[in-house]
């Protein structure tokens, strides 16, 4: 904005209050991770202590490093799930934006309806159907359902329509490139910025998902971090000493995503209604 405006103390105060409210739990978990289990419930909430590294060691030693396995699993679920989902969305979005074919309108409307389907109706029948295939309690049970993202397809269609000029597709075709080569060497690079957004959306959705893995998995060695921490908290009800591990585990679990957010901020400027990305 070019006009210089008067600074408003009220606007500053409100924004800083909002920031404080949002940072409070994060600040607390940082401080609480440094407390011993006795101090957690006795010393002043925001008074730090010196047990951070003991707590890390306890957490890392919990059942031979089970916690790190959960983190690894989460990276696998979110990383592979989001990557495959992005590729599938890109292909579908490209087809819907740049080709004309019978049934196109129907396909697009069905996918749009899919955006509004509440996950609740899916979780239990998905579990039963995968159980019939003997696939529950495996990595596939969490990965396969995360490969499809109607919202990702919707976004990819908008990005393909906006970022891929038809003339370039024609030129590539006249040069003798096949449809798949054109897609791989021309279309994907042009859609790159938009696809990062699709990837991030799906990555966060899978990383934060609780219900699907909670239903699908029985073996705690396959858990993602959300289900693992939920289990730890339940144990804490009987062994309060576990609470320090829960708190430290919560801190460690949010570091990777916060880092991802801070480094990839510009990809988060999404206009839901128009679907465009202002990078």
């Amino acid at each position: 904005m070019t006009t210089t405006l008067r600074r408003s103390p009220l606007a500053t105060t409100l924004l800083l209050l909002g920031a404080a409210y949002c940072l409070l739990p994060v600040l607390w978990v940082l401080i609480a991770s440094s407390k011993s289990s006795a101090e957690l419930f006795s010393t002043f909430t925001l008074a730090p202590s010196t047990h951070l590294f003991d707590n890390f060691a306890d957490l890392a030693g919990y059942r031979d490093g089970l916690y790190w396995r959960w983190m690894g699993n989460t990276v696998v679920y979110a990383g592979i799930g989001a990557a495959v989902s992005t590729l599938i969305s890109a292909m579908a979005g490209y087809a819907l934006a740049k080709f004309d074919f019978p049934g196109k309108g129907t396909v697009f409307n069905v996918i749009l309806a899919g955006v509004l389907v509440p996950g609740v109706i899916l979780a239990i029948p998905q579990y039963l159907l995968l159980a019939k295939l003997g696939m529950t309690n495996t990595y596939w049970a969490v990965l396969l359902p995360s490969f499809i993202s109607p919202y990702g397809i919707y976004l990819a269609r908008i990005f393909a329509a906006a970022a891929v000029p038809t003339e370039i597709l024609e030129a590539s075709r006249i040069d003798g490139a096949g449809d798949w080569r054109t897609f791989g060497t021309v279309v994907l690079p042009m859609m790159r910025t938009g696809l990062v957004t699709v990837f991030l959306f799906q990555f966060v959705a899978i990383w934060n998902n609780f219900m699907l893995p909670y239903i699908m998995l029985g073996d705690d060695r396959l858990y993602p971090i959300t289900v693992g921490l939920n289990g730890l908290l339940n144990q804490g009800a009987n062994q309060p000493a576990m609470y320090t591990s829960v708190v430290t585990g919560a801190l460690v679990s949010i570091i990777p995503l916060i880092a991802l957010f801070l480094t990839l901020q510009r990809y988060w400027q999404v206009d839901l209604a128009a679907g465009g990305v202002k990078a």
């Binding site: 920031a19 949002c22 978990v29 509440p118 109706i121 499809i148 329509a161 206009d271």
Partner: protein
């Protein structure tokens, strides 16, 4: 934005050139090939489960004889029995009431705050560093999974941990227990507001940034206050974004599950049927009654559809820009 792209390939100038650079043929099957993985997965993990849930909701198990042996239990059609059972279950209506109240607290508060912060950021009346710091801080909770958010707030609610209790007690005031019966709903709602405000703020803020400033420069020169500009010009322009954030928030609200499930070990006021989705989980996995669980999920899904489409109809908008 154009949708249709097939044009006739330009003819090569000479036969020799045609042999060297023959345009790749455009086969009719190509778009279907690109769509195939999405359509197969859509059928397997969205369409089939919906059909299967509908089917299960109309079935029940008939036990013959003493119910011993594999053949004494057979699955038969149940008509609408499961729906009647779900709707008349004494735990169901209270859980619906709770989610209704929860939605009435969460959605307006969250979107109201998101809009307020977005407008404040857009009005550019603070130092740039303050704006940037606030924007990142308020967005940060989106990176925290609901389970972890509930865990953090859950501890902060515990009277022995809560800084609010410490402060109030130091002042000699007895602090309320946030996980008591009356306040649990607010405690859970706060977690959702905390987690969702930043994301919605970014969506609205992005829409505001796309508005050409010339639209309100003249109003400003005419002496209109920032509040009047926000109310008369900016909010109407970002209305489509507000509508969509409302619909997505509504869908998420009706499915609240992770927050109460995580708070449960810390708060004995949260029952196993505290929300409708928790009841679905209990019926399916603790009681092994898949039929009741399927019927309840169908009811929740239908309610979600009716509410979201009803709302879109009410405000006279289609769900998405189908014809862009």
């Amino acid at each position: 934005m154009s949708l249709i792209t097939t044009a006739a390939p330009s003819k090569p100038a000479t036969p020799a050139a045609a042999a060297r650079r023959r345009p790749a043929a455009r086969r009719a099957g190509t778009p279907y090939a690109f769509l195939a993985p999405a359509l197969i997965l859509f059928a397997a993990f969205l369409a089939a489960p919906i059909v299967y849930a509908g089917y299960l909701s109309l079935r029940k198990v008939k036990v013959s004889g003493l119910g011993l042996g594999a053949k004494s239990r057979t699955e038969i059609w149940a008509g609408l029995d499961n729906y009647t059972r779900s709707l008349t279950d004494p735990d169901f209506l209270p859980s619906v009431g709770r989610v209704g109240a929860y939605g009435l607290i969460v959605v307006p508060t969250m979107l109201g705050l998101a809009l307020l912060f977005a407008l404040l950021l857009d009005a550019n009346r603070t130092r740039e560093t303050v704006g940037k710091f606030a924007r990142i801080s308020i967005f940060l909770p989106y990176a925290v999974p609901a389970v972890v958010a509930s865990l953090l707030w859950g501890f902060l609610y515990l009277p022995r941990v809560s800084p609010i209790n410490d402060t109030l007690e130091a002042l000699g005031i007895s602090a309320p227990n946030l996980l008591s019966n009356d306040l649990t709903l607010w405690a859970v709602a706060n977690i959702a507001v905390w987690g969702g405000t930043g994301f919605n703020m970014i969506v609205i803020y992005t829409a505001l940034r796309a508005v050409p400033t010339s639209l309100y420069e003249s109003a400003r020169i005419d002496g209109a206050s920032e509040v009047a500009i926000a109310w008369r010009i900016k909010i109407p322009i970002v209305m489509p974004s507000l509508v969509m954030t409302f619909v997505f928030s509504l869908i998420a609200t009706l499915q609240v599950f992770a927050e109460p499930m995580t708070l449960k070990p810390l708060a004995n006021t949260i029952s196993t049927t505290w929300t409708p989705l928790m009841k679905v989980y209990r019926d399916a996995f603790a009681r092994n009654d898949l039929y009741a669980a399927a019927a309840t999920s169908v009811i929740i899904a239908l309610a979600t559809f009716i509410l979201s489409f009803g709302f879109l109809k009410l405000v006279g908008r289609r769900a998405f820009n189908q014809e862009d």
